[in-house]
């Protein structure tokens, strides 16, 4: 996030005093600050499930953002959504009805993955900007379709790769691009959890409801762990390597949670990038030691990024050749048993500093940036190209696992850039 941009946006917040002050102690605020009085951005939500609700709460922390439409097919979501907005927000059971409403400027799409393209493209075509949850879409063709719709409509599309906006990710990426870690050759990434990845279903015997709420576990709607967890890591690797993978191999299975699910409970994939670089990603649901992290390996150093911070480590200095005195030759070299274990580095790293004014939750920074982009007419950074890159890799990664063979992107991708 550019600080200048943020100040410009927040400048609206320092306008004239708006609304009656509810001041607990009747003390007036200093005159230099006042509550937000800038333009409003009215948001409609398609998909008011757990992620949709979290996005709603986060967007409502952004000055000027208001939720003016809730769309879902599961009736209890409306009460939950209104509980979050704190008002009688209009509800819609068909997204087309919501898109026909006049009081919506932008749309949040947080539906099951297989429905993303349908909802995103319809929202764009209706003239709305879109914040679309990752992964961008379910198939390569649908990813292309969203890219084309953005181009055709000229509307903003921001994919839910929120770490793109996290200051510690941005600062690490800047250092990588400045060459501070040398040549990056590999990224090892993981998202390891120790749970069944299920959502609670009020009536477990209701199979339809089970598929609706636990859609992540069914192939009709979901590309599983790689889509829901791996897309963040793939998106960052694409930024580090400056492009998209050219091939992928993978494995996975339903090996522990044999509970009727159809998507894998563990996946391991290796993407190869055109310059001989590799992203290895693993997701398991049986051990949480590693949590969610990315380890970026360069010839001069490493970076370890988590959901909350980033650490940098330098490689040991390589010694240059030096001359030796004749004494060594005259005395001879002493022989003996020797072994130097190659232990992992366990020393301290250098924390990537987080400036106070951009500190904070990646979700908030992403939502704030989306709203700011609409107000200031600035295209999102995590745009349709970023979304296309992670989503196509997710689709083809799953294909590689399914078919048990290396998948070459060129065989499935119409245009390399997706543009």
């Amino acid at each position: 996030m550019s600080e200048i941009d943020r100040r410009k946006f927040m400048g609206n917040a320092a306008g004239a005093l708006a609304g009656a002050l509810l001041v607990a102690g009747c003390k007036e605020a200093p005159k230099s600050v006042a509550p937000y009085s800038g333009p409003q951005v009215r948001l409609g939500v398609i998909g008011v499930g757990s992620r949709g609700q979290e996005l709603m709460r986060t967007f409502l922390r952004v000055p000027g953002a208001r939720i003016t439409g809730l769309c879902d097919v599961y009736e209890p979501r409306f009460a939950a959504g209104r509980g979050i907005t704190g008002e009688e927000t209009p509800i819609y059971r068909d997204y087309r009805e919501m898109l026909a409403a006049k009081d919506i400027d932008a749309v949040i799409v947080a539906t099951p993955l297989s429905m993303h393209a349908q909802h995103v493209i319809a929202a764009l075509e209706s003239g709305r900007h879109v914040y679309g949850e990752k992964s961008m879409a379910f198939t390569v063709e649908e990813c292309d379709g969203i890219v084309e719709a953005v181009k055709r409509t000229g509307k903003h599309y921001q994919v839910g790769l929120q770490y793109t906006y996290a200051s510690w990710y941005r600062d690490t990426l800047r250092r990588i691009r400045e060459g501070k870690l040398g040549q990056i050759t590999q990224i090892n990434a993981c998202w390891h959890r120790n749970n069944n990845w299920r959502r609670a279903v009020p009536d477990p015997s209701d199979k339809k409801l089970e598929r609706l709420i636990n859609w992540r576990l069914y192939k009709e709607y979901s590309l599983g762990l790689l889509a829901e967890l791996g897309s963040h890591h793939i998106g960052f690797a694409n930024q580090v390597f400056g492009g998209y993978p050219e091939s992928v191999v993978g494995s996975g299975g339903i090996d522990y949670w044999k509970d009727g699910r159809e998507t894998y409970d563990n996946v391991q994939v290796a993407y190869r990038y055109p310059n001989g670089q590799t992203l290895f990603f693993s997701a398991i649901t049986t051990n949480a030691l590693e949590g969610a992290q990315l380890r970026v390996y360069g010839t001069e150093g490493s970076a370890v990024l988590t959901e909350g911070d980033a650490m940098l480590y330098s490689e040991a200095k390589k010694l240059k050749a030096s001359t030796v005195t004749q004494v060594l030759i005259d005395h001879g070299i002493i022989t003996g048993a020797s072994y130097m274990p190659e232990m992992p580095y366990r020393g301290k790293g250098e924390a990537v500093p987080v400036p106070e004014d951009v500190e904070g939750n990646a979700n908030f920074l992403a939502c704030e940036s989306f709203v700011r982009g609409i107000v200031n007419n600035q295209k999102p950074e995590a745009d349709e190209q970023a979304g296309w890159g992670e989503a196509v890799a997710v689709v083809l990664g799953n294909k590689a696992i399914e078919e048990g063979k290396r998948i070459w992107f060129r065989d499935y991708v119409r245009k390399k850039s997706g543009a």
Partner: protein
């Protein structure tokens, strides 16, 4: 890792564990053992699950017809507790409260309706309690050394500086924009005196929606909510322990669709020059409360009981009873004096006093003692 377990084996283990709870609920444990044994086969069984959150351990006991139903209810409940922890924590720099604390000293910070409503509720309690409930006492706590884990008698200057950054009336709210602002830079909000109670209420709502009729939600034993009653019983038995000795009971009560909160001074304190200073501040004086050992309060929900328990502690029994009288269906209990000779002062206490024995266990009649 977080699998639900029928309550018998777990509770047998837990009753042996002297680390159990903080300072209440011993009665609940033995009662649950009895209740679990009495639950008819093929009907609802009693399940329990605990997780750490909000700096304490949350435990939920609930009756469910299957492990699957219990698991689903636990998962939804703990997801909500963890969400609230991520939102309201002042330790986690990514929380919404931390964002407000960072920015509200220099600009108006818009927040979501839930957090805004909770802040409005807090300031409402502050006003109503004459400032004895105050979410801004962090600087005072720091001045007295409680954030460093060791006591410190502050100098007059230190106290003055801390008081400048303290005071609920310096927190400004703008309802039209849901924005928060601190009149004085350097202030900070700490929802430790209400957050657990709010989380308990949210969980009770989730359990009700999930079709759970009977449950006990326990936030580190300091705030409890009894949903419904166990089969064949008239309420959930809760024992109030003697301060400093959890094995002894000074009062007990049967709860049904109501909450109980307890505050105590004997967990965190320091002694200096023969005086004992506890971690509960009187925001009016800027100094720790002296002479109060423990308070318990019963009300309709956890947010209310938690928000009432500290003002009761600060005000003492006489002033506190007048304060409680301004709320409907509330009862309280004060324990004052020295820890080895405590004085108990009940007010509209609906249970029994003293060690109670088996007076209430097993569905005994609910007795009312009014002072």
């Amino acid at each position: 890792m977080n699998g639900s377990v029928p309550v018998e084996s777990n509770l047998e283990k837990r009753t042996r564990d002297t680390r159990l709870g903080v300072w209440a609920l011993l009665g609940v444990v033995s009662f649950l053992l009895l209740a679990a044994q009495m639950a008819p086969a093929r009907t609802a069984k009693l399940y329990v699950q605990s997780r750490e959150a909000m700096g304490t351990k949350f435990t939920i006991y609930l009756y469910a017809v299957s492990e699957g139903q219990a698991e689903a209810a636990f998962e939804s409940s703990f997801d909500e507790i963890e969400r609230l922890d991520r939102t309201l924590s002042n330790y986690n720099p990514e929380s919404e409260l931390s964002r407000i604390n960072r920015l509200a000293g220099r600009e108006w910070v818009t927040t979501d309706p839930e957090v805004f409503a909770l802040l409005q509720t807090c300031l409402g309690y502050s006003k109503r309690s004459g400032g004895t409930f105050d979410i801004t006492v962090g600087p005072l706590m720091r001045a007295w050394g409680f954030f460093r884990g060791q006591g410190h008698y502050p100098t007059a200057r230190e106290l003055e500086q801390a008081r400048e950054k303290t005071g609920w009336e310096k927190v400004q709210l703008n309802a039209a924009t849901r924005a928060v602002h601190f009149a004085v830079p350097g202030m900070e909000l700490d929802l430790g005196g209400i957050g657990k109670g709010y989380a308990v209420d949210r969980v009770v709502g989730i359990l009700r929606e999930a079709g759970v009729k009977v449950a006990m939600v326990d936030a580190g034993s300091s705030t409890l909510y009894a949903l419904g009653v166990p089969p064949g019983e008239k309420g959930w038995l809760v024992r109030v322990p003697k301060p400093g000795d959890r094995s002894k009971t000074i009062a007990a009560v049967l709860l049904k669709d109501e909450s109980l909160s307890t505050s105590g001074s004997y967990e965190k304190f320091f002694q200096l020059n023969g005086r004992t200073y506890c971690h509960i501040m009187d925001p009016r004086t800027g100094a720790p409360v002296e002479g109060m050992l423990q308070t318990s309060v019963i009300a309709a929900d956890g947010t209310t009981t938690e928000a009432l328990s500290k003002p009761m502690f600060v005000m003492g029994a006489d002033e506190g009873a007048k304060y409680l009288a301004s709320f409907p269906h509330v009862a309280g209990l004060w324990v004052t004096g020295k820890i080895d000779s405590p004085q108990v002062a009940p007010w509209k206490w609906p249970g029994c006093m003293g060690d109670c024995g088996n007076t209430l266990a097993g569905g005994g009649e609910r007795k009312t003692k009014t002072q």
